[in-house]
């Protein structure tokens, strides 16, 4: 086993006035060249897992694991320099709301170019050309206009595509998508997901999608891991969600609206 993300015994605890609060309590899973969903209600610790992988939790969080590696790189033990190359370069992360996740005072183009320059070691003109290509790849019809736009000038769906372009720029091998569509209008969710899916397959990436939307999981994922109170309570093929055994999964599924 060398390919992809391997996690064993991941624990995360936050400091608080009443002592440490355990958010993630011994989680094991792997993600290879596949699309894995981490599902659960809010507060189940699924977002914390996503951020812990990139060591992007606030200082009050304490991360521990028996094993947390990506393609053999020890994600917990490696120094900050090495980690910076992993972030963006090997593992990319898409956040929930493009209105907050893009810097409001920087043009979209500069933010994408920045991704290239942080990892590619390429010049400005070349980075700009590739950024425009990438914007076209996420099905933006007028890349030049979006390149020069500020985030507040874009619609939610357009913003999330720009975000995908920015994260894919450095060519990561694994993509963590934290609720990538829940802040978007229902009508554009599907198209954004379709673009994400298309690019993940085209680039041969792994995908870890963090969501509470079971319909999305059934349509776009290979496997689903169900989280509750910091633990994975059930792992099953995405197509088998409807036949889940665990009462919690069944309750989650029963609560999901049918489209």
């Amino acid at each position: 086993m060398t390919a992809g993300l391997e996690i064993a015994g991941l624990r995360v605890a936050y400091d608080s006035i009443r002592g440490p609060v355990v958010a993630v309590d011994g989680v094991d899973f792997t993600v290879g060249h596949e699309r894995v969903a981490l599902v659960g209600e809010s507060g189940s610790g699924k977002s914390t897992v996503g951020r812990a992988i990139l060591r992007l939790l606030p200082p009050s969080a304490h991360i521990a694991a028996d094993r947390m590696t990506f393609d053999g790189i020890d994600l917990l033990g490696c120094d900050e320099r090495r980690m910076r190359r992993v972030r963006g370069g090997r593992i990319g992360m898409i956040l929930q709301d493009p209105r907050h996740a893009l810097n409001p005072v920087m043009t979209v183009g500069r933010q994408i170019v920045e991704s290239y320059r942080a990892h590619g070691g390429i010049g400005g003109t070349e980075a700009r050309r590739r950024a425009l290509d990438m914007l076209a790849a996420v099905h933006i019809r007028d890349p030049e206009r979006v390149f020069a736009a500020y985030p507040h000038q874009l619609s939610g769906g357009m913003g999330q595509r720009a975000m995908i372009a920015m994260v894919l720029a450095a060519g990561p091998d694994l993509l963590i998508a934290d609720e990538p569509t829940s802040a978007l209008d229902v009508t554009v969710r599907h198209s954004v997901l379709a673009i994400l899916d298309e690019l993940v397959i085209a680039h041969g990436m792994g995908l870890l999608i963090i969501t509470h939307d079971l319909n999305l999981v059934a349509t776009f994922c290979d496997r689903a891991l169900v989280m509750r109170a910091g633990r994975i309570v059930e792992a099953l093929p995405a197509s088998g969600l409807a036949e889940a055994h665990h009462p919690y999964t069944r309750a989650l599924f029963a609560a999901a609206p049918t489209l």
């Binding site: 910076r84 190359r85 992993v86 972030r87 992360m93 810097n103 920045e114 942080a118 507040h152």
Partner: protein, 348 residues
């Protein structure tokens, strides 16, 4: 020197008003300002004429001033006369100098502006980095040290700090020049163009004058700058903590950017917008703070002029200074408003 954090937040938030509303509100504020100064000058004193001409004035001067103030008219007409005078730039005569108050202000203001500008510059150059460091190291020792230092800057009476600085750096260590704007020997050597002695002497190539002027301004500017430094550092810290908690900072880190770039480019880039308001407010506070600082350093600016007028009960001069500084305050607010629109793409 009494800008508070809450006011700054309020001013930074309630920005986006339309041009017409803005112009109306500025006009109303200036009118209110004049109403208050009129009240202070004409209604509070038992004998407003005496307040203007001083108690050593001759009977003729007294009668002339009484005539000019229109004291027999009803109060509202008196105010209109006063308003008309001020709008024409007539702030009355100064008892102390015997010249029109506005001319006096024009003569003394540049020295104050020069001092306040340099002090603000010191405040920005030192305050912003300190605030950023405190925010990044929040809750750890650099934050605590910076917090104590900035609270000291908030708490120290500047006139006293000025005296201690003179005692230490001038009288004891002899590192800097003493009170005054320039050595007596160089007095009046540089041709006044801008009114700033530093700029004027540099323009004329009179480097010995420049050196002496720099030597003289450094200590008062540092003393005055302590408040500005403390205020700017505290607000920078506060804004930065806000920004560092935003999602885009997480996204920037997730892209693999260096921590320096995340902090100084992304987070500080967003912090710079509300900071414009802070710098404008602190500049205003320094104009005010210069009243006491100039007294201590015998700096020939507006503050020293105002203090002299106060001690001699020269009411026209006192109110003239009040109006001018008040209008500069309003102007600074307006300026920060415009800069805000220019800097924030969301406000364009």
């Amino acid at each position: 020197m009494t800008v508070t954090d809450d006011e700054t937040f309020r001013m930074a938030r309630g920005r986006l008003r339309s041009g017409a509303v803005l112009a109306g509100s500025v006009a109303a504020t200036i009118l209110g300002l004049l109403l208050v100064t009129f009240f202070i000058g004409r209604v509070i004193p038992v004998d407003p004429v005496l307040a203007v001409v001083g108690d050593r004035a001759s009977a003729e001067t007294y009668a002339a001033a009484r005539e000019a103030m229109g004291l027999d008219e009803p109060l509202w007409r008196q105010f209109l006369i006063y308003l008309g005078g001020v709008l024409r730039g007539d702030f009355g005569q100064s008892v102390l100098t015997g010249r029109p108050v506005l001319a006096d202000i024009g003569r003394f203001f540049p020295a104050t502006l020069e001092l306040a500008t340099l002090a603000t510059l010191i405040g920005v150059l030192a305050g912003v980095p300190l605030g950023v460091i405190a925010a990044v190291r929040r809750g750890r020792w650099p934050d605590h040290v910076i917090r104590v230092v900035t609270l000291l800057g908030y708490s120290v009476p500047t006139f006293w700090l000025g005296m201690i600085a003179l005692l230490l750096f001038y009288a004891t260590l002899d590192w800097t020049a003493g009170p005054g704007r320039v050595d007596l020997f160089f007095e009046g050597l540089a041709q006044p163009v801008t009114g700033s002695l530093l700029i004027d002497s540099a323009l004329a190539g009179a480097w010995d004058v420049f050196g002496s002027a720099l030597d003289h301004i450094l200590l008062p500017a540092l003393v005055l700058g302590t408040f500005s430094l403390a205020y700017i550092a505290r607000m920078t810290r506060s804004f930065m903590i806000d920004q560092l908690g935003q999602e885009y900072v997480l996204a920037a880190r997730a892209k693999g950017l260096s921590e320096a770039r995340v902090v100084w480019r992304h987070a500080l880039g967003n912090t710079a917008i509300p900071l414009v308001t802070v710098v404008a407010l602190s500049y205003g506070a320094l104009l005010e703070g210069s009243v006491l600082t100039e007294t201590v350093f015998a700096w020939p600016g507006l503050g020293a002029y105002l203090t002299n007028s106060l001690l001699n009960a020269d009411m026209n001069a006192v109110l003239g200074c009040t109006i001018v500084v008040g209008i500069v305050f309003i102007g600074l607010n307006l300026l920060s408003d415009l800069l805000y629109r220019l800097l924030d793409p969301r406000a364009r």
